[in-house]
Symmetry: D2
Subunit: 223 residues, 4 copies
Amino acid sequence: MELPRIIINLKAYVYGKRALEIAKAAEKVYKEAGILIALAPQYTDIRLLAENTEIPIFAQHIDPIKPGAHTGWILPEAVKEAGAVGTLLNHSERQMKIEEIEEAVKRAKELGLITIVCANDPEVAKAVSVFDPDGIAVEPPELIGTGISVSKAKPEIVKNSVETVKSCNPKVKVYVGAGISTGEDVKKALELGAYGVLLASAVIKAKDPYKKILELANGVLKR
Amino acid sequence: MELPRIIINLKAYVYGKRALEIAKAAEKVYKEAGILIALAPQYTDIRLLAENTEIPIFAQHIDPIKPGAHTGWILPEAVKEAGAVGTLLNHSERQMKIEEIEEAVKRAKELGLITIVCANDPEVAKAVSVFDPDGIAVEPPELIGTGISVSKAKPEIVKNSVETVKSCNPKVKVYVGAGISTGEDVKKALELGAYGVLLASAVIKAKDPYKKILELANGVLKR
Amino acid sequence: MELPRIIINLKAYVYGKRALEIAKAAEKVYKEAGILIALAPQYTDIRLLAENTEIPIFAQHIDPIKPGAHTGWILPEAVKEAGAVGTLLNHSERQMKIEEIEEAVKRAKELGLITIVCANDPEVAKAVSVFDPDGIAVEPPELIGTGISVSKAKPEIVKNSVETVKSCNPKVKVYVGAGISTGEDVKKALELGAYGVLLASAVIKAKDPYKKILELANGVLKR
Amino acid sequence: MELPRIIINLKAYVYGKRALEIAKAAEKVYKEAGILIALAPQYTDIRLLAENTEIPIFAQHIDPIKPGAHTGWILPEAVKEAGAVGTLLNHSERQMKIEEIEEAVKRAKELGLITIVCANDPEVAKAVSVFDPDGIAVEPPELIGTGISVSKAKPEIVKNSVETVKSCNPKVKVYVGAGISTGEDVKKALELGAYGVLLASAVIKAKDPYKKILELANGVLKR
């Protein structure tokens, strides 16, 4: 399955109708510009977005469990059945024990779910590449939500991440995130070797999500 | 809002179509026998079950957060918008810090969500009654999933829980759980002073969920 | 055993020689002013301070475990054997699940260790009083480390905490903390009904810990 | 600093006087057989063992923190000051988030503490080798405490772990653990390429710890 170039993480900011509006905006950009854009909504919105749009829907996290007595946990099978095609893992707001990451990637593979594992720096990115996820998203936590783009403020982190991950596991796609807010930020990230970007605030706070997503997608095209 | 007499916790056992079948069976019993039965499915199934049945749907857990940057967490607003009318909290398989329980109950109240806080013994039940949830479900962990009913094997725990909770907060409804598998177990629990029961395995493992749920509902009627 | 009026929590600020100096200063004040002062140092310093001073030494936390295969956990028996006479529990920097608090208090009682359970507000204080600890320390987290004393800035929290806890479990001593930094703050806390105070920064940052501890002890005497 | 060939993890099994007896037995073997043996006791016993024996003492865990407001946490500086020369990290009974492992290794290096990071399988071992600890201890959790030695029951895990780690970071020493209980088990582990062993039960349950440790040390010599 093709990996998206842009992953919009809705975090716990928006849900329901508003989440669907953003998904519809992303779908429109996808159809017009041909850039694959994924959305990671609240678990409760996965089915809603998957049934009503044609873009890939990701879970924000899955637990490394099999069906059983796990009240309140996120079952990978349930996420898949609801229509998700992949999942984020180890986001800095939802960090995981190392053996949980390994097991969650395994469980996702058994079910054909794409995995994008988050990492706070190039070393962690290299370490998790051992588990052979589909993608790794490097996000310096100090820039998340700031609007100061990692690709402009810390280009060396983008370059290092790409090189380090590739040296250990060349198949893994490298995403970058933190502060990505303009088409220019996206363009720069891809020029530095990233395959795609992971972002939240820029789209969530945009008055016109369609316009913002289109701008970001154009950043992919212009490179 | 009326509290259900029977809460079926689907845990991470079933999801999607199978979860909907069980919900439909519960709805049929509700319409025939007039006993209110709630279901607590995976988060991803809340909307599916809420839109397609008339029985109350509960989340298995919510996180004590407000809308914001909380990737992978369970936002109470999202759970509510998806159609849940309430939530379990502090299940023995998803235990919470004491201040998280307090905050989660507050957040649920702000949104009009029913709260059923789980407790492993009468003392914890009394302690959490201070936070004024709608219900407290006492489940001795050593009996969960065994088929040995708390109401038969440890009737004094049911009685103590009811008395202890009522002494501290008379408004709170007391549920019991762990090993409840027959109509007789339900009847006995209510005779001992419980308002309702919380169960999982008996329904999940039943060949005919409708028949099993009907039997359990009859346990409420016979008392 | 008599409970201390002042508990100095060294947190992870100081250790070894510096911790011993503060303990010696507290011991001197105790001998001169007759006010019992306890110290809660790093685990690794419990034995050092217990063997070299006559003041009561507390652990900052214990885990709710029995001797066994628990690498890296804090065994209550080990803490006791090293010379601690008590322990803090559920500090806002080391929060515990509700059932862990219950179990840790039980384990401490089996070993004759004093328990002081921390709470962020009067409701949590009331809830944990159900577990019958020796003391409860109410600390509004927003004031911890600020130097703005809870007894001056939020006197109603001190009063409410004392009343609420006493209404549920009259034997439990109520401590208050957060921002306590002068003898005046201590005096005020005790006037409002607190039995004692829990503090850290004021002593840790003091140029002359002896002088600061003496001032705090005089706050107890003056009331 | 030379790394020990045998690390005895006292877990939460023994403490105080009994811990010191085992440390004395290990010291005697060290002096007689010349095999360096380390002990990882409860935090509260680090100073006691470090001051009264000449063998290296390890913490069972450290938290990835700097001096500050961290009540109840394990400060690396305090562990060092108490006499520890190193620490275990990420033991299967005390698992860590991946970024905590990275940070804890960094903090230990700043202080000159040896780090032995535990891993449940060769992939996790490879992943953590990226953080450049001094050693990695591979322990299949299903064999811990069983007396069925990993070196006999799963020799391929020992071999794979050594090869995998060396391929990524040749400087790192590989330890194996789980079920190691005889000199023969030790000998076999080293023949398979391990640098040393990590064990607990065999020594803790031994009637004569000196005799058991001598037997284990002879396993190192015989290879």
